[in-house]
């Protein structure tokens, strides 16, 4: 047990996960020259070495396969194959570690990969914020109103109009009578028809979009239950809303208009409403959901279905 380093480590160390760099430093002194070259390469560029075969690494370091294997053994692995796996793991960890560079604003010269990462991160953040800030009592009340509604009118303009359409589509699919209005005049004309047992929903990020507030006011005054989905719960729209659902406001930048995160936020709220209503009306919703799915099936060409 004198000079054989291999024996010192025998049996004790399960292959090292991330302690590899440290182990290299620890053991370097006890290594022969060519082994040190290998260890150095491995510690210096785990990702690159993980991509190499024994022969490749041997050539890169100007040594032989045997030396590479000996080095792997010395580091505590049964063979080169296992060292390679550990190397891949290490590389992945290192890479994921330096991820949080994405918090910065999107710049004009950002490579496309950064844009993807930053957008995804921002939207995830928006979702978390929205979920955290959503008042479940208000949400529950809104769901109740919707579940028993005779008719549902939804008002939204611009980007919010699409969110309204999304909600209307979903509610229709579970058998409710919902309509999304894009045109402010038609919206008001229709709002006049509403009465108790009906529900009106206004979607406006700013909380002060006149074209959306007006129809909600009319609905409110005619006795319908009213819901506001807005990022400004203190805005004018709230005057006429029985239930206020707050969406989150994320910082915006030139290349990332507010419309993006408000849309994400609004959609989450809308999904929550939908699922809540679907739960409440499960008896009728379940068959309706599968029915609409079946009806669409023939619209898809058979190929690629398996």
């Amino acid at each position: 047990m004198t000079s054989n380093v291999k024996e010192i480590f025998a049996g004790d160390a399960p292959p090292a996960p991330a302690a590899l760099a440290a182990k290299v430093r620890t053991l370097a002194p006890s290594m022969t020259r060519s082994m040190q070259r290998v260890a150095e390469a491995v510690a210096g560029d785990p990702a690159g070495c993980a991509a190499l075969t024994v022969t490749g690494l041997a050539e890169l370091t100007g040594t032989s396969e045997a030396t590479v294997v000996r080095t792997a053994r010395l580091l505590g692995y049964p063979g080169y194959r296992d060292l390679r796996l550990a190397l891949a793991g290490l590389a992945a960890q290192q890479q994921s570690g330096r991820a949080p560079a994405v918090t910065a604003d999107i710049a004009v010269d950002d490579p496309i990969a950064d844009v993807v990462a930053k957008l995804a991160y921002d939207e995830q953040q928006t979702l978390a914020d929205t979920a955290a800030g959503l008042d479940t009592v208000q949400l529950g009340a809104a769901v109740n109103a919707l579940a028993g509604a005779r008719r549902i009118d939804i008002y939204g303009i611009g980007a919010s109009s699409l969110v309204g359409q999304d909600l209307a589509q979903k509610l229709l699919r579970i058998g409710l009578i919902a309509h999304a209005h894009g045109d402010p005049h038609l919206a008001i004309t229709n709002a006049v028809q509403l009465r108790a047992k009906d529900v009106a929903i206004a979607i406006t990020h700013s909380g002060s979009t006149g074209d959306v507030i007006e129809p909600l006011r009319v609905a409110f005054e005619h006795g319908a239950a009213t819901i506001a989905i807005t990022g400004r719960p203190d805005g004018p729209v709230s005057q006429y809303a029985d239930h206020i659902l707050t969406t989150s406001t994320a910082r915006e930048s030139e290349l990332r208009p507010a419309a993006m995160s408000s849309r994400t936020s609004q959609l989450l709220v809308v999904d929550c409403l939908f699922v809540g209503v679907a739960q409440r009306t499960y008896e009728t919703a379940a068959p309706a959901l599968s029915a609409s799915y079946e009806a669409l099936a023939h619209r898809h060409t058979p190929r690629g279905s398996r």
Copy 2:
């Protein structure tokens, strides 16, 4: 470039690091039964599988070595060896990183607070998967095509129609000529007008929505650049797409229809396209962006606007 998934991925995607779970879900539908077993094992226990040899994994899944290799290829790796390395990386990331907060399906009797939490979590997951699985090379090419386009036509039906409208709205706002078509017949009628320098975009989660594929085919045959945003890159729609942008597929349940996560995924892709184009055309886009913002200001009642 028809139905061969291998070719679709050839050359473009360097083996995925953390996108693996997402990729498994994306490609699972196009897999054969035994391949699915392998993919399932791999996605379910990356660490465990990384420790296995081809033969071991074949035995574990009750299949043959050949099938394991085939699965690895389908997932975008040159062979099993490389899949194994990626697996080791994934395992390392998982272990070092986050708690794998398991999300149960949304149940009928879930309290509303749980619904909010689960939906938010699922959508965050969808975003992460989409970002990880998005091919930035394809994305860059698509952005290039859009940035120089004379005219842009967008096809989407049902839920995807809203995504198309969202994209059209955004592109219009930075001075591009974009139109989202909801009606299949009008879409085809318009597609005939397209020629080189024009871009056609088809949005379909299933990749096999005839009403969307047809106009894309027409556009393709008239020499327009074509982009497909789909969850099934091996689907029929890809035949006529110069650039394929893959959206992620999340598991769905009765109360959480696939439409929800596919919409989230599609919107992220669309946002990436938009920001990419805005970067590329910054000179004209920047003034256009602020101009449209100013134009809207008077539509908001003064109170609560700041």
